[in-house]
């Protein structure tokens, strides 16, 4: 197991290096000169070539490429991502709290997805082929084909406007979580519950269930065994869900004005605030790689057979 963890971690390192390099190169791909953006955002009335040169020097852009990359990388590791062009404050002071908020939303959503897909997956597997199974699958099919923002708008219209039960935006209380989490959970649970269902069905057909029944064990015991074995398969998939959702709360966050990474990133893209976008790409991609590694290790811990895969 220890060897597996080391091997898995070694795979992550070149990936992280590649990501950081891509994120660094990224800012040089832009057709706009960062110095100009800075001057524009500071409201400098007349932009002269001298001013641009001065600002470029100030931003450290006249040094060799590789030196700048290494410098940048070292400061990134110390959470120093430079200054936002627009807000004129350190990027991390914007990104840190936003990351935390998105993480909160993600974790609550994953918990909801887990509960929902296990409940639905088990119910459908036990009633496979009956109307309950068919109607749940049919409904989930339509719901996963609907744009989440459309579902969100309908839910806001119903729960917040018509019934006046839930807040439409912000992150003020526990009630603020209900709608965003519901929208995210509906979308993903519709995919993941099928995994649980088919894994349960596969297990229900296994000989150990037949033998357990033949030994006179009650169905509840057998369902418990099947569930345990099905969840093992599902763990790796749920492990994948955390990073995936972390990176795709963009639409929901913007819709519900959630003060997280999604809102911050779209705002930064619209105002072309490069340091923020760059840090956002770097931090999320790094989180993605790390979570994937952690989820692989977790699956290998549960299922020894996976340890030989690397």
């Amino acid at each position: 197991m220890g060897a597996y963890i080391v091997r898995r971690a070694l795979i992550a390192i070149p990936l992280l290096a590649m990501i950081s390099f891509a994120a660094f190169v990224f800012q040089h791909l832009s057709p706009l000169d960062p110095a100009e953006v800075v001057l524009h955002s500071q409201g400098v009335p007349k932009i002269t070539d001298e001013l641009i040169a001065e600002t470029r020097a100030e931003l450290g852009m006249d040094r060799p490429f590789l030196i700048r990359y290494l410098d940048w990388l070292v400061s990134c590791l110390q959470l120093d991502f430079g200054k936002s062009y627009v807000a004129n404050q350190p990027v991390w002071s914007l990104l840190g709290p936003a990351l935390l908020n998105t993480l909160k939303l993600t974790l609550v959503s994953v918990a909801a997805i887990l509960a929902l897909s296990v409940a639905l997956g088990v119910a459908c597997a036990l009633k496979a082929g009956r109307w309950l199974d068919k109607s749940i699958r049919g409904l989930s099919f339509v719901l996963t084909s609907a744009p989440s923002y459309w579902l969100a708008a309908l839910m806001v219209w119903y729960f917040s406007v018509k019934l006046d039960l839930l807040p439409t935006s912000g992150m003020d209380s526990a009630r603020s979580y209900v709608l965003p989490v519901a929208v995210i959970a509906i979308g993903y649970a519709g995919i993941y519950f099928r995994v649980i269902r088919s894994s349960m069905l596969g297990n229900l057909n296994e000989d150990y269930v037949l033998y357990g029944r033949a030994c006179g064990l009650p169905e509840s015991t057998l369902v418990r065994r099947v569930l345990k074995n099905s969840l093992q398969v599902a763990i790796s998939i749920f492990g994948m869900a955390i990073p995936t959702i972390l990176g795709s709360t963009v639409v929901v966050e913007n819709l519900f004005a959630w003060p997280g990474l999604g809102t911050l990133s779209v705002r930064s893209v619209l105002s072309r605030d490069f340091p923020v976008i760059q840090a956002y790409v770097l931090v999320l991609a790094a989180a993605f790689v790390l979570f994937n590694a952690v989820s692989d290790i977790a699956s290998a811990a549960v299922n020894p057979k996976l340890r030989n895969d690397l």
């Binding site: 000989d207 150990y208 037949l210 033998y211 029944r213 033949a214 006179g216 065994r225 074995n229 093992q232």
Partner: protein, 273 residues
């Protein structure tokens, strides 16, 4: 001990309307061993599972299955659960898949024994340990604390036999218990089946397509083909004067293998008990 009488057993597939087992009737005398032979798909396993009422919901079965005069098909699911394991014990083909892969095998053994007898943990371990030693499983405690993938198919098969020894059922139904094993484990497992009957005096239904094993264990033989019993009778008679063409075909086809098996088993003399 009780006899098992199956009469007019029919099994059909609801979805396709196809008949899978047609009108089979047979009697298993107390303490005797009946073997069901036939190629795969002939309805052997379905018959076994029908006796325990374990066929999937999509299969419809009719006819009566009387265990000591009680018709099992008339019992509620709850009553049936008490009979499974305690009075009718199934031993499945592939030991590797018979146990929950994510628990040590002891968990299943204890859950089963606790269900039927309500013994204390210590008593279950003690009785199970004794039974496991008697089927030549060394170090029972270590075996009980092993995961199925850490044990061999033959060991798992013998664990099932040991569990049957403790449960002392009226009838042991063994569904191709030796098919998935190599020759040496096959020999060990067949020996344990032979002594299982001697020790607890149960009757046995033994499904196999290996006629060598059948010759070693069975008193009576049923030959099945396409869901029908085409021939039945005492073992020696079936082997010496098979009447049905299909039986003759089976015996001749297995002749070569049979000879080799008898060689492994130590000659023909074991049959003549």
């Amino acid at each position: 001990m009780n006899s098992l009488e199956v009469s007019n057993l029919k099994i059909g597939d609801d979805a396709t309307g196809r008949a899978l087992v047609r009108n089979s009737s047979f009697l298993v005398e107390p303490g005797s061993c009946t073997a069901i032979v036939g190629e795969s798909g002939s309805g052997k396993s379905l018959t076994c599972r029908a006796i325990l009422r374990l066929n999937p919901a999509g299969l419809r079965q009719s006819g009566s299955i009387a265990l000591g005069g009680v018709d099992l098909t008339k019992l509620s699911e709850r009553e049936m659960r008490k009979i499974r394991g305690r009075r009718l014990c199934l031993i499945v083909q592939n030991g590797m898949r018979a146990f929950d892969p994510s628990s040590v095998v002891g968990v299943h053994l204890r859950e089963t024994l606790n269900r039927h007898f309500g013994w204390s943990r210590a008593e279950m371990t003690a009785r199970m340990g004794k039974a496991m030693e008697s089927v030549r499983l060394k170090d029972p405690v270590a075996v009980m604390n092993s995961f199925p993938h850490q044990l061999s198919g033959g060991m798992l098969q013998r664990i099932m036999i040991a569990l049957a020894l403790v449960l002392e059922p009226d009838i042991v139904v063994a569904d191709e218990p030796t098919t998935a094993l190599d020759t040496v484990s096959q020999y060990e497992v067949v020996e344990q089946f032979a002594s299982l009957r001697a020790r607890i005096g149960c009757s046995m239904i033994f499904v196999s397509h290996d006629l060598g094993v059948v010759r070693r264990l069975a008193d009576e033989i049923l030959v099945m083909r396409d869901g029908e019993i085409v021939e039945s009778g005492p073992t020696r008679k079936i082997f010496s004067e098979p009447r049905h063409a299909y039986t003759r075909h089976l015996i001749s086809a297995k002749e070569a293998l049979n000879r080799r098996f008898n060689h492994v088993m130590g000659g023909d003399d074991v049959v003549d008990r």
